[in-house]
């Protein structure tokens, strides 16, 4: 059943990607609307795919690499769609959907057949993991937006104004979209981390169990607070803030990979 939902999700995301590209290249309004609609359909199908997986595991569906990557893709798409509605701007969809598709496909490739029951359960744990991954997805989206910003800025400064430049959002809007995304990520990671402590407290009876992940998460939090502060400073607003945003996401990747795999005791896949 979850395979069917996976196929539906894949088809919707692929269709959405094609339509977003069509919208970016031709500017056809209907193409953009269909892209948004297909993305929304893909999100629903993806949700059911995660739900089916959750039923198999009898807990949150991301206690392994496949689940957490799939959830990352879903939350990335959800965050993007929210930003699209909030800023009424859909021309960057063509540049975000490839990442959503990549996470979906990697998650599928990394899936294992046996769904072992895991000890980590409970609402606090579920929210802790979901919000943490939402934060990473939002930071990932802000990184993509920053890369678009820097590319477009370079094209404008070099006077290479092709048809895509006329269709992409203005630099100022890209900057604001990136900040909105980081704000979502910061709120999510702050609440998610707090819930993590609550959950550990319930599980072990003590709040503090040293894990290198805590330190790196704190570093990520501080890095993005600094970004938000500097991005509103006229002297930093623009390319410097975008570069900082990309650098910050490098810390997130470090936390997501090296720290999880080699240093953390309890955080293997999120």
């Amino acid at each position: 059943m979850d395979h069917l939902f996976f196929l539906l999700t894949l088809a919707a995301y692929l269709g959405s990607f094609a339509c977003y590209v069509g919208f970016l290249v031709t500017g056809r309004e209907w193409s953009g609307r269909v892209a948004t609609l297909l993305l929304a359909c893909g999100l629903v199908a993806h949700y059911y795919a995660l739900l089916e997986r959750s039923r198999g595991l009898h807990t949150v569906p991301y206690h392994d690499l496949s689940g957490s990557m799939s959830l990352f893709g879903w939350l990335l798409a959800l965050t993007y769609l929210s930003l699209e509605f909030f800023h009424r701007q859909r021309s960057v969809g063509a540049l975000v959907l490839p990442f959503v598709l990549a996470f979906l496909l990697f998650a599928n490739a990394a899936a294992t057949n046996h769904n072992a029951t895991v000890p980590a359960k409970g609402v606090a744990f579920a929210l802790h993991v979901t919000l943490s991954i939402l934060a990473y997805a939002a930071f990932g989206l802000s990184c993509v937006l920053s890369v678009i910003y820097l590319t477009q800025q370079r094209l404008l400064q070099q006077h290479k104004v092709g048809s895509i430049v006329w269709r992409l959002p203005p630099l100022d809007l890209l900057d604001r979209m990136s900040q909105s995304s980081v704000l979502v990520g910061l709120v999510a990671i702050a609440i998610g981390t707090a819930l993590g402590f609550v959950w550990v407290d319930r599980l072990t009876g003590g709040v503090w169990h040293y894990d290198p992940k805590y330190v790196v998460t704190l570093l990520v939090l501080v890095a993005y607070v600094v970004y938000l502060r500097l991005a509103r400073n006229p002297g930093w607003r623009g390319s410097r803030a975008s570069q900082l945003c990309i650098f910050n996401f490098a810390i997130v990747i470090f936390s997501f990979t090296v720290v999880n795999l080699f240093f953390s005791h309890a955080h293997r896949y999120f």
Binding site: L156, Q157, H159, V165, L171, N233, P234, G235, W236, G238
Partner: protein, 426 residues
């Protein structure tokens, strides 16, 4: 339900003729009222811009005659000799009139391909005619269709998206950086024609603050007054450069007026906020080395001209797509028109058959001696039923006909066969 268009434009008439045949809003109101009063048109609308004057109408009689009468009317209305006006006038009928209007709305018939202003002018002309009560179902549908076509072409093609003048290219580039300019400040150096063009574009985009600097303070004040700006003294550079998000430089000068150190100092004093500089002067007004300053975007006249040239080519390549949208909407309009005509024709045919039936009953059935009044009513009712059946089945089939050409041909064939004297103009 024929449609007639008589008009002239920048291709058919020289400017001396165009300016004599243009309509003010009051004249347009007067013309549509007169055309109706004189029985030339049931519905009419005047579209008058600096490049075209066109009258659209739905006449009660043969379209050919209406076009000739309208041409005479235009000559009289504008006091131009018919022999001077006639060579400049073009006449379009039905499908061709509809296509013409839709092409005009798309910007395909404009002097500057894809220009956006025409859509607003059509909207205004339609509003004026509608409020005067001069339009009816045909022109309402046609002009609403034209506005839809114009919007679609601008949304779905690049015909109208890219700027076609140096001034608009510069302003659109500023929007690529800042988004909407409603909260932004512009500083204009120089008060010549090109500055005026840019200022006009900036005002159209509701720029929040506008400052003008010029060696001659009088000219600066003139420009500032015209566009609700403020004047800054020519020597007051430090204060002036700290303010704007957009600088438009168009000063006659031997040496660059804005040197790199001046701009570097200004950028530092304004916290490196992004600054877009349009250098429209020749020789250049801004030192080229300033382009590498952080958050400064410098475009000179050559850069902007190159963009305009690229855009011109891009717009031309969009013509087939725009024409396809126009054709799609022409077919849509004609399908609607054929359906409306079909309904009217069926009603006319029903009336005619009922008359024939009444005559037949009067002449033949009433002479049959042994029919009682009840039986006669029954015979009449059966005849009515038969006529309805004969009429309704073909009408339904015709209504459902998908092929527009076939539908129109069939409607016309039925009209020719059963309703002679109501032929449609080819």
């Amino acid at each position: 339900m024929e449609i007639v268009l008589v008009g002239l434009n920048h291709r058919s008439a020289p400017v001396e003729v165009r300016e004599r045949v243009s309509f003010t809003a009051d004249q347009a109101r007067q013309a549509v009222a007169e055309l109706r009063a004189k029985g030339i048109f049931h519905e009419s609308l005047v579209l008058s811009t600096c490049n075209r004057s066109e009258v659209y109408g739905v006449p009660p009689e043969s379209a050919s005659e209406s076009a000739a009468v309208l041409s005479d009317y235009l000559s009289r209305f504008h006091a131009v000799q018919p022999e001077h006006l006639s060579p400049s006038l073009y006449h379009r009928y039905d499908r061709h009139a509809v296509r013409h209007l839709f092409r005009v709305a798309s910007g395909l018939d404009s002097m500057v391909l894809g220009e956006a202003e025409i859509l607003g002018q059509i909207r205004e002309a339609y509003r004026l005619a509608y409020e005067s009560g001069a339009t009816g179902p045909v022109l309402n549908r046609m002009f609403q269709g034209a506005l839809e076509v114009g919007k679609r072409v601008r949304h779905e093609t690049e015909l109208g998206t890219r700027p076609m003048s140096v001034a608009s290219a510069g302003v659109k580039l500023a929007e690529r950086i800042f988004g909407k300019l409603g909260q932004r400040t512009a500083l204009v150096l120089g008060a010549g024609t090109i500055s005026e063009q840019v200022v006009s574009q900036l005002r159209d985009r509701n720029i929040a603050h506008l400052y003008v600097m010029n060696r001659s303070r009088d000219r600066a004040e003139l420009l500032a007054r015209e566009f609700a700006g403020k004047v800054i003294g020519w020597e007051d550079w430090d204060a002036a450069l700290a303010l704007p998000d957009v600088i438009v430089a168009s000063v006659s000068t031997e040496e660059p007026t804005l040197k790199r150190p001046m701009l570097a100092k200004a950028m530092a004093s304004r916290g490196n906020r992004p600054l877009f500089v349009m250098d429209l002067g020749l020789p250049r007004n801004v030192e080229a080395a300033a382009a590498d300053l952080y958050n400064l975007y410098l475009y000179n006249i050559d850069n902007l001209t190159e963009i305009v040239e690229q855009n011109r080519d891009a717009r031309r390549s969009e013509i087939p797509r725009a024409e396809a949208i126009v054709e799609e909407h022409v077919e849509k309009f004609l399908t609607w028109q054929a359906s409306v005509e079909l309904i009217g024709m069926v009603e006319a045919l029903r009336g005619k058959l009922k008359e024939e039936r009444a005559d037949f009953v009067r002449e033949r059935v009433e002479r049959v001696p042994h029919l009682s009044p009840e039986q006669r009513v029954q015979v009449e009712s059966l005849m009515d039923e038969l006529l309805e059946k004969l009429l309704l089945d073909p009408a339904r089939r015709l209504q459902g006909e998908k092929d527009l050409r076939r539908k129109i041909q069939n409607v016309e064939a039925i009209r020719d066969l059963f309703l002679p004297g109501k032929e449609r103009r080819q």
